[in-house]
């Protein structure tokens, strides 16, 4: 057998670094640092104040809503899927939560339970449609989104319900300078991160996202995994809805779409270095990406950048950032010499446009 070992050592070995560099520190973290630094300079020059605790608090506060749902979106995308229905689900959740509470402390816990259950339910439906009906995720969740949209429009014409005192205070109180709700965000990120990187379920999410057929042949119940991923994703959306309800004191039928949480969350995930094709990426990248977006938003605010211009700039940032990823990957690949087939498709290579829809229905 040593023959095999001996012979192969004669063959060129690819630098181990290429593997390492791909797994360790995600470039989004340095990026966050840079954004903060540049933002700080810009704002200070402009005569504003950036690194004040009140402002940083504001940044954190603003990142909670997108952050929570983006973490969930990360799971869906890692599993090789994606979820376009979160925005409407967030709206619905905020309403269900506020209406169930209806100002009665006694109903706080039930309301939270009901809302999360609602999320789980919607996630279940998404997952079932995608796996059992073999509708690709893009269309399936787009369909769900339309259904929720219709339901909202038909049943709610304005803010409804009223959260309890305690729940409202949750959205506003702080521990020291840090808003309590930030701990919710952190908590969700930690838990989901743990689930993904430590538990069997997480391993299976990566496996299924990486290659569904291989996973199936290896005995994974791929459908369950995908469904689970969607349930988790929708539950985070419900959580976001709950959180927003606590901020708004009631539920509103447009809070989700006004926030653009569907596309924004996907953008954040990709910004965080997760491959749209699935199977590759990490929660902490998403967290960093959300913070980057929040800081940018805050800086633009302070510089009183025209809101429209702001939106355009956001678009530029997203594209540029992801382009840099691609650069980096190509670099990693070159350094690894002409890569063997498996690598060459490259997670962000052309064709990943079809991301989120790996096992296409007719396949």
């Amino acid at each position: 057998m040593n023959a095999l070992g001996w012979l192969r050592s004669a063959g060129r070995r690819r630098p181990a670094g290429s593997a390492g560099s791909r797994r360790n520190v995600l470039p989004i973290w340095p990026a966050l640092g840079i954004v903060v630094a540049v933002g700080w300079i810009a704002v200070t020059i402009d005569g504003g104040s950036f690194l004040t605790s009140s402002n940083l608090t504001n940044v954190l506060q603003r990142s909670v809503a997108l952050g929570i749902v983006a973490v969930g979106q990360t799971v869906a995308i890692l599993a090789g899927s994606l979820d376009l229905s979160v925005a409407y689900l967030i709206s619905l959740s905020s309403l269900v939560a506020a209406e169930t509470m209806d100002g009665r402390e006694s109903m706080l816990v039930p309301a939270i339970a009901v809302t999360l259950a609602l999320g789980a339910g919607v996630g279940l439906v998404n997952g079932l449609v995608i796996t059992k009906l073999r509708v690709n995720a893009f269309i399936a969740t787009l369909g769900t989104a339309l259904i929720l949209k219709g339901y909202l429009a038909d049943n709610y014409s304005r803010p409804a319900g009223e959260v309890t005192e305690r729940w409202e205070s949750f959205g506003y109180t702080r521990m020291g300078p840090v808003p309590v709700s930030v701990f919710l965000f952190a908590g969700v990120a930690l838990v989901v991160g743990f689930l993904l990187r430590r538990t069997r379920w997480g391993y299976h999410v990566y496996a299924v996202g990486g290659d569904e057929q291989v996973s199936a042949l290896s005995g994974l119940r791929t459908h369950r995994v995908v469904i689970g991923a969607h349930v988790l994703c929708s539950v985070t959306a419900a959580l976001t809805g709950l959180f927003l309800a606590s901020r708004l004191g009631s539920g509103t039928p447009r809070v989700g779409t006004d926030g653009g949480y569907d596309l924004e969350s996907i953008a954040a995930v990709v910004l965080g270095g997760t491959a749209l094709v699935g199977g590759k990426g990490r929660v902490n990248g998403t967290v960093a990406a959300v913070l980057v977006l929040a800081v940018l938003d805050n800086v633009f605010n302070q510089l009183e950048v025209d809101p429209f211009l702001k939106q355009a700039l956001r678009g530029v940032v997203i594209i540029a950032a992801v382009a840099l990823y691609a650069r980096r990957r190509l670099a990693a690949r070159d350094e690894a010499t002409a890569a063997p087939p498996v690598d060459a498709a490259g997670p962000v290579g052309p064709g990943t446009g079809a991301a989120g829809t790996p096992e296409v229905a007719t396949a």
Binding site: N2, L4, L7, R13, R200, T337, A338, P340, P341
Partner: protein, 511 residues
């Protein structure tokens, strides 16, 4: 011959929409036996194995393990019953580590939390058992070579403590040295009491490792023989239904050699260095070397896929600088890649569209479809392509026939210099002979041919000259008909010690 059959397949019949792919196939395999399955492309070997592994339900017939009838509706059930299969196409997750791949779906865990340490320890143990030290349980599978991935597959099977192991053309993508190492591995597994079903197109391997061999033809079992009682020619005869005479076509006589059509001077890039190469019209130059020696890179560099950054390439005396396959084709080069599924075919497109893709990429030349269809039909004949129609999607063709479509694509372009990378990988002996004839004819018609092959008999038999690569440089050159020993010596940089007898020594080794 060991005792009671551990595995028995009775009257297995399978049809895809009416077309019978397997009919009444019987097959038994005992613990501690290596049972080879051979047959032409499309004979049904892979399908039979997929039935065994539960990937396809059989239309009729039954599978017995330890005499117990079992029916598998999902590969997992087969796994549970101790049947592990290594498919023709790899079943690994490139983005995950070796350990994660080995234990995917069966990760050791406490309360759902994966015990990574244990997982990696177990993997390491299994790797040691196989004497594999060139990579660790933490290596990312995507970074491993073909051979290394092969080992990962075996480790995976071991970890399932499978009693029945199916290997579908495991050596198809390995250089002979690695292949022989793998055969050692198979023997060990056998000695460990496994029942191994071994599919291969390579006769020497079959005779080197198998106890018994079953021949399939057009979905029927033609024979099951003890290897001791048969010879390669007999087997081949059974597979193709006719005697194959002198297998490799005669080499080119010096007189047949013409002008230099391809000349590389001091070619180099980040994978290659100091490449000097000349190929004349009518000549077939073989490129030998170990996995990772840079043979494919050489072809890709000449073709312009991963261009040379140093040195010059001349085609027919003209200096060309192909920066892309486009340029390469324009310069009169053709490149038949080693990996047909990933690099050769658009699987969802028709035979015709695949065969014409090269022409079409060249824009507005020769556009009237009539003659194009004719071209495709001609080439289909020439390559003995077997498809239901030219409009059939190529993904439904068996491995060998897919390769023929790729071949047709390049012949359609009729380039002056052809680069063949593993031209007969995974192709049955009948088709193989045809392709060899074809290559020789092409040479005679004045083309210059570069042929990369990991199969020494083919390399030696087909080449007029053999250039051996080692770590991206030319290690040396040998005349056609050099011995395998010489080639290995050059490729490995010294006389390989302790290397088991290179499989299939002897002239008519492959047929």
């Amino acid at each position: 011959m060991p005792g009671a059959p551990l595995l028995e397949m009775r009257g297995i019949t399978k049809a895809f929409l009416g077309s019978v792919v397997l009919s009444e196939v019987d097959l038994t395999c005992a613990a501690g036996e290596v049972h080879a399955v051979v047959g032409e492309n499309g004979a049904g070997k892979s399908t039979l194995m997929k039935v065994l592994a539960g990937a396809y339900p059989p239309d009729a017939g039954e599978v017995l393990i330890d005499g117990e009838p079992r029916s598998f509706h999902h590969p997992v059930q087969a796994q549970a019953a101790g049947v592990a299969i290594i498919y023709q196409e790899f079943n690994l997750l490139p983005e995950r580590t070796v350990a994660e791949n080995v234990f995917v779906g069966r990760e050791p865990a406490r309360f759902g939390v994966v015990d990574r340490r244990r997982m990696e320890a177990d993997t390491a143990r299994l790797l040691d058992e196989l004497g594999e030290r060139s990579f660790s349980p933490r290596s990312r599978v995507g970074d491993l070579s073909v051979a290394q991935q092969q080992v990962v597959e075996v480790v995976k099977a071991r970890s399932l403590d499978a009693r029945i192991l199916v290997m579908d053309e495991p050596t198809a993508s390995l250089a002979d040295e690695e292949a022989s190492a793998l055969l050692d591995l198979v023997r060990r597994l056998r000695d460990a009491g496994m029942a191994v079903l071994y599919i291969s197109h390579r006769m020497p391997e079959v005779f080197a490792v198998a106890d018994r061999v079953t021949v399939l033809k057009d979905g029927r079992r033609v024979a099951t023989l003890a290897v001791a009682d048969t010879t390669p020619p007999q087997l081949v005869a059974k597979m193709v239904g006719r005697e194959l005479d002198g297998y490799v076509p005669p080499r080119a006589a010096p007189a047949e050699l013409g002008e230099v059509r391809l000349r590389v001077r001091g070619g180099g890039n980040q994978a290659l260095d100091g490449i000097d190469l000349e190929v004349r019209a009518g000549e077939i130059v073989g490129i030998g070397g170990l996995q990772g020696a840079g043979r494919t890179e050489l072809a890709r560099a000449i073709f312009g896929a991963d261009p040379f950054t140093r040195g010059t390439v001349e085609v027919d005396g003209r200096v060309v600088r192909p920066r892309s396959p486009r340029d390469g084709i324009a310069a009169g080069l053709g490149f038949l890649t080693e990996d047909r599924k990933e690099e050769g075919l658009a699987l969802a497109q028709s035979v015709k569209d695949n065969a014409l893709l090269g022409l079409r990429s060249q824009g507005r030349r020769r556009t009237d479809t009539g003659s194009r269809t004719a071209t495709v039909e001609r080439l289909a004949e020439a390559t003995e392509l077997r498809a239901r129609s030219l409009d059939q999607e190529v993904r439904y063709l068996s491995g060998g026939n897919q390769q023929k479509v790729v071949l047709a694509k390049w012949l359609a372009l009729d380039p002056g210099v052809l680069l063949f990378d593993e031209p007969t990988r995974g192709i049955d002996v009948g088709a193989k002979a045809a392709i060899h004839e074809l290559m020789r004819d092409l040479a005679r018609s004045g083309k210059a041919i570069v042929m990369i092959s990991s199969e020494l008999p083919e390399l030696i038999g087909m080449s007029d000259r053999i250039v051996v690569l080692r770590e991206g440089r030319i290690a040396g050159e040998l005349p056609g008909g050099a011995t395998e020993h010489e080639v290995i010596a050059l490729a490995a940089g010294s006389d390989p010690v302790g290397d088991g007898p290179a499989p299939g020594d002897g002239p008519e080794a492959d047929g």
